[in-house]
């Protein structure tokens, strides 16, 4: 009568496998497409024989699609972890001001140390931590913490974007990045250097966050019950928030605030495969990576040679979904 629980398990494994295949496919497609089209299956031959297009692949496309995957995976995973920590499906790094906190940290760093790009991801992570600390303090214990968090995050976000705009107006950005870059995101600045700068922090945060899945499962029942199930909740919070800050800082420092990836991806996965974080977290990384590669592909080819900010596309899809979720009151409907 009851369906076999193992069937559910198999479905999750199937989904993970499909997502693991989707990512290299997206990367290939992303590397192939652009102003100069190289058929995906020709890519190995082009590289081996150093044909025309090899330098486009090596210098432009590869770093770009890899950065897109890294940034997207990190943002989606961070979103899923943040939702688990705050116990609401409505938390999204870009929306609660974390992304703009990262951008503010990065812009501030560049204003003072225009040539020290190496410090950018860490400065951005500090920006995220600052916003997180402020938000958690402001939201406190009152009624409807989720709603308060969102409202305060949004307000904080608009103050931060004004501050970013002001800083850029006064100081300028040595790398020529605009306010639009920070608020809507772009992978246009991708290079091997930027990738090398971003990857260590983003991957470290990702790997360590994946290890928090059981504790986050327990937290689904509430902080008290997580404690009764043997979780040190305070330590978990610190660890996970710190790792989220590192990840979001690295991602936003490299590509600006690509909004709603962190909301859309975990939501979709919970609808498809259930809410167990042991499934949602790795799946979120994979799907976030693939979707961002594809969104960036669309952003740079739809109106070529002009390039859309990639966050514009993710917001067009994720924003309405968020409104829908919010109107429904989260999961309970």
């Amino acid at each position: 009568m009851t369906p076999d629980p193992r069937q559910f398990q198999r479905r999750r494994q199937g989904l993970l496998l499909a997502l693991a295949l989707l990512l290299p496919a997206s990367l290939l497609l992303g590397a192939a497409s652009g102003a100069y089209y190289i058929p995906p299956l020709e890519i190995p031959r082009v590289l081996q024989q150093g044909l025309e297009g090899a330098s486009v692949l090596l210098n432009l496309r590869f770093p770009r699609v890899l950065l897109a995957a890294l940034v997207g995976g990190t943002l989606a995973l961070s979103g899923a972890v943040l939702q688990g920590l705050l116990r609401t499906p409505l938390a999204e790094p870009g929306l609660v001001g974390l992304g703009l906190g990262a951008a503010f940290g990065a812009v501030l760093w560049l204003a003072f140390f225009p040539l020290a790009a190496w410090g950018l991801p860490l400065a951005a992570a500090l920006g995220v931590l600052g916003v997180l600390g402020l938000l958690l303090r402001l939201v406190g214990e009152g009624e409807q913490p989720g709603v308060r968090l969102l409202l305060m995050g949004l307000l904080l976000g608009s103050v931060l974007s004004a501050l970013i705009g002001f800083l850029q107006f006064r100081v300028g950005d040595p790398q020529g990045r605009s306010l639009t870059f920070w608020t809507l995101g772009s992978l246009g600045g991708a290079s091997w250097e930027l990738l090398a700068l971003t990857a260590p922090l983003a991957l470290l945060s990702g790997v360590l966050l994946l290890g928090q899945s059981r504790a986050l499962n327990a937290l689904t029942l509430g902080e008290e019950e997580a404690f009764h199930l043997g979780i040190s909740v305070g330590a978990l919070r610190w660890r996970a928030l710190l790792l989220v800050a590192l990840g979001v800082g690295a991602a936003v420092g490299a590509a600006g605030n690509i909004a709603f990836v962190g909301l859309l991806v975990p939501w979709l996965l919970r609808a498809l495969g259930g809410a167990d974080h042991r499934f949602v977290l790795p799946a979120a990384w994979l799907l976030g990576a693939s979707l961002t590669v594809l969104a960036d592909l669309a952003a740079r080819t739809l109106f070529a040679p002009a390039e859309l900010p990639v966050g514009l596309l993710t917001t067009l899809v994720g924003g309405p979904l968020f409104l829908y979720l919010f109107a429904r009151g989260g999961w309970r409907g």
Partner: protein, 260 residues
């Protein structure tokens, strides 16, 4: 082993008010029921005994060792706790909720055959097996209680602490839960539950504990404690004692009680 769970002069202060004061008790295996009016400190006492809250004065000892010295992971193998208010942030199935009870035993490994067997057995014991694959959010209040209770049982701890586990249950389900807890107690568990129904408590419990305004007024066998004078002191309303087939029953009789 006499030192299961011990409270020594336990006090808890919050916001300048003592929610609990001067409570000393020693609990051994058996079914203990915590009674008292709302706000008497029942939940506070349970949370202190579970190690979740630190007492403002006095101490709780588990197996003779101060409970504050246990790590959360160690405590989770000794006692399970069912709070009064329960919530779930994400759409888990009932089985997934029960599976969370196995976390303390897993220490990072995936569910093994024994975990799956315990989850199944716990669901069966609370008659929630038919609900196993349903989303928790789709369950009624009574069904949720059975699933949450199964989670506590799946945790496989010698000590069970429950805050009003019969809330939202109809009479039959209440009986089922209480007889389940009594059975667990006979099997050698220490079960401590806060309840409201005096007669049910007297029927199933091995011992009663009466709290009033944060103080422990009385502790003892049900048939000794079901005295109108004591109950009036606890609840602030007169009680009538009825004898029926050798069993004592009590009934609150206030000014509003219609006369026969």
């Amino acid at each position: 082993m006499a030192n299961w769970l011990l409270a020594q002069n336990l006090g808890f202060r919050r916001g300048g008010r003592w929610l609990l004061q001067g409570v000393s008790l020693a609990l051994e295996p058996g079914f203990w029921v915590l009674l008292g009016p709302n706000g008497a400190g029942k939940s506070t006492l349970l949370r202190l005994l579970s190690g979740e809250w630190q007492p403002s004065e006095g101490a709780v000892r588990l197996w003779g060792r101060p409970i504050g010295e246990y790590r959360p992971g160690e405590l989770a193998l000794q006692r399970a706790f069912l709070p009064q208010q329960r919530s779930l942030a994400f759409p888990y199935t009932a089985r997934e909720v029960v599976a969370l009870g196995r976390l303390p035993h897993q220490k990072g490994r995936p569910e093994n055959a024994r975990d799956l067997e315990r989850i199944e057995a716990a669901l069966r014991e609370t008659r929630a097996l038919a609900l196993a694959e349903r989303p928790y959010f789709s369950l009624s209040g009574g069904e949720r209680v059975r699933v949450d209770l199964a989670r506590i049982l799946a945790q496989e701890t010698p000590i069970l602490l429950l805050d009003e586990p019969t809330n939202h249950l109809d009479p039959r389900q209440q009986l089922e839960v209480l007889s389940l807890l009594a059975r667990r107690a006979r099997q050698g568990h220490l079960v401590l539950a806060a309840l409201h129904d005096l007669n049910q408590a007297a029927l199933f419990a091995d011992g009663l504990l009466f709290l009033r305004e944060g103080r422990l007024l009385a502790q003892g066998a049900p048939q000794e404690l079901l005295q109108p004078a004591l109950l009036e002191a606890v609840y602030g309303v007169p009680f009538e004692l009825l004898e029926h087939r050798g069993r004592r029953l009590v009934l609150p009789v206030g000014e509003g009680t219609p006369t026969a």
